[in-house]
Every structure is written in structure tokens, then in C-alpha cells.
């Protein structure tokens, strides 16, 4: 399978994704799944500037990601699929039954969210939605960078802020 990581990250394309995961995993393409960015050329240019030339970036909405998922999987290069939030990943998982793992990589603070990890703040609704994804048989874990400890969903939802570093 050439999609190495299905990641939820509200920063989308940034240092942890491009360098932190991209280099050690030898990532050749990133699929950015976001309904708003998919129809905004300026936003796409913004994120394209942050990706090295040897790495392709594909912009798509959820519908397109579901339709084209088989192509991502059959790609000879290794790829990352990233969504800005849990709801978007939930829609993607609903439409692609073969997704086996989802990574919670960066959901930062905003009002109504409770800190779970230094890089993962969740509202009650988001906690429920993550649980629903897991109930579909998807292995949900939290991990900001490759050499960080992988945190299970059970631990994530029960945890208080822990001493882990995040960019």
C-alpha cells in the first residue's frame, strides 16, 4: 500500500509533515483533502510553496479523494493523505472502507476543546467522532512525529496532558 499515513492535522502541510514524516518515509506525494482548499487556487499555491520539488501535492475535496483513492494506493511512490479535522477524515473513512489506520497528528487548542496531548485537543463531539471511526475497525492512534510514542485511542481519550514534545 503506497499511502503510508492517513493524518489529521489542522496545520495541513507544515514542517512535521513535509520534513518530520516526509523525509524518513521517503514520501513522494501528499494528498490534501479539504473541501475549501480544493476550490481555491490561491490557497493551493500557498501550500504548494512549502513542498519540495521532488514531492507532489494533490488537492482534492472528500468526494474526489474517495473516487481517486484506488489511484493513490496503486501509486508506486509512498504518500500521505492529510485532512484538516476529524470530521473530514470521518467522511473519508466512510467512503473508503480499506483505510486501516488513522493518525491524529495535530489538533490544536480552541474554545471547547480539552487538552489530551500537547498536540491534541478534543471537544466532546470530536471525541465521539474519533470513537465512531474506531468502531468502524480503523486503528486510531495519536503521534505527532515518527519517533514519538504512538498513543492508542483508548489512552488518548482518557489521558490528561502528558509531557511530550510537539513542534
Amino acid at each position: 500500500m503506497s499511502v503510508t499515513l492517513y493524518r489529521i492535522d489542522d496545520r495541513l502541510i507544515h514542517g512535521q509533515v513535509v520534513v518530520g514524516w516526509g523525509q524518513p518515509l521517503n514520501i513522494g506525494f501528499i494528498v490534501l483533502v479539504d473541501d475549501d482548499i480544493a476550490c481555491c487556487d490561491w490557497e493551493q499555491d500557498l501550500y504548494r510553496m512549502g513542498v519540495p520539488p521532488e514531492m507532489e501535492i494533490v488537492f482534492t475535496d472528500v468526494k474526489g479523494a474517495i473516487s481517486n483513492h484506488a489511484g493513490y494506493v496503486s501509486d508506486k511512490r509512498r504518500g500521505i493523505v492529510v485532512t484538516p479535522d476529524i470530521a473530514t477524515m470521518h467522511r473519508l473513512v466512510d467512503g473508503v472502507k480499506t483505510i486501516g489506520d488513522v493518525n491524529v497528528g495535530g489538533i490544536h487548542y480552541k474554545a471547547g476543546r480539552t487538552p489530551r496531548l500537547r498536540y491534541a485537543f478534543l471537544s466532546p463531539e470530536e471525541e465521539r467522532e474519533l470513537s465512531v471511526i474506531a468502531e468502524h475497525g480503523v486503528r486510531v492512534t495519536a503521534q505527532d512525529v515518527p519517533n514519538a510514542r504512538q498513543v492508542s485511542i483508548a489512552e488518548l481519550l482518557l489521558s490528561k496532558p502528558v509531557e511530550e514534545k510537539s513542534a
Binding site: L46, P52, H108, K165
Partner: protein, 151 residues
């Protein structure tokens, strides 16, 4: 995001902030502290870390500090980093802003010592200096067999 007010540990006078240094972890504060150690002019910079913040909050804090000090110049660490993305968003509505990515200590020091230059000129000189001071030392010769094969 953690931010520091204009940095100065040793200077006897304070220069007005002219640029923001933004990036990952403690790097911004560390760079500004190093500028202060060398030149006593750390107060030229405001340091902002993206630590623990969503992209929209990074942009919000950058806008706030820029407005507070009338700053037009931004140094960031990674071209694809979240602070860089945030500054590029700001540039969309304010074309007078100047961004230097891949900033290092030499670039910042060059900027410090150009107080009378326009933001664009100071930024350009800083970038040139920063690039020029990256030097590889030691034995980096290509092995003879590889070298011969390429001829």
C-alpha cells in the same frame, strides 16, 4: 505560541523592534538571544514560536505583534513551516510585507546592522549573508572511483 517581547539581555539601550523571528520550538527565542549575546541588539527582533498553536492562531499572533510594533519584516525557519504559511497569508492582504525563510544567525545579524535600509533592502542583504555563511568544511571530496566514473 510563546512570544518574547523584544529580546535584550545585555544591551544598555533598546532598539525598536523591526522584525519578527517566527518558527518551531525554542528556535526563535534562541536565535534572538544569540543576536543579543553577539550584538546587544536583540531588541530589534520579536520572537514567536508556533508551539502548540493551530495555523489560524499562529497568524493571529503574528498579526498582533506586527501591528503592535509596525513591523514589516518576518524571518522564519522552514519554507514549508506553519509560520511561513501564516506570513504568506498576511502578505496576500499587505504586499508591503517582506518574508525571509530559512533564516539563520548570520542573516539576523546582517539585518541588525542595517537600521537605515528599507525593509526590502535589509531583507535582501540579510538573505544573501545568511546563504553565504553556510559553509561545508572537512573532506568532502568525491571518492576517486566515483569521480573517475563521472568523467
Amino acid at each position: 505560541m510563546t512570544s518574547s517581547e523584544p529580546g535584550h539581555d545585555s544591551a544598555e539601550h533598546e532598539d525598536a523592534p523591526r522584525a519578527i523571528v517566527a518558527g518551531h520550538g525554542a528556535l526563535p527565542q534562541g536565535l534572538v538571544n544569540a543576536v543579543d549575546c553577539i550584538s546587544g541588539c536583540g531588541s530589534v527582533f520579536v520572537a514567536l514560536s508556533n508551539f502548540g498553536l493551530a495555523g489560524s492562531d499562529i497568524e493571529g499572533q503574528l498579526r498582533e505583534k506586527a501591528a503592535e510594533f509596525g513591523i514589516k519584516v518576518f524571518f522564519t525557519d522552514l519554507p514549508g513551516g506553519s509560520a511561513t504559511v501564516a506570513v504568506r497569508r498576511m502578505m496576500r492582504t499587505d504586499p508591503s510585507l517582506v518574508l525571509i525563510t530559512g533564516a539563520n544567525l548570520s542573516a539576523l545579524l546582517e539585518f541588525v546592522f542595517q537600521p537605515d535600509a528599507t525593509p526590502a533592502d535589509a531583507a535582501r542583504h540579510a538573505a544573501e549573508k545568511g546563504r553565504a555563511t553556510i559553509v561545508v568544511a572537512g573532506n568532502t571530496a568525491v571518492p576517486a572511483s566515483v569521480d573517475a566514473g563521472s568523467k
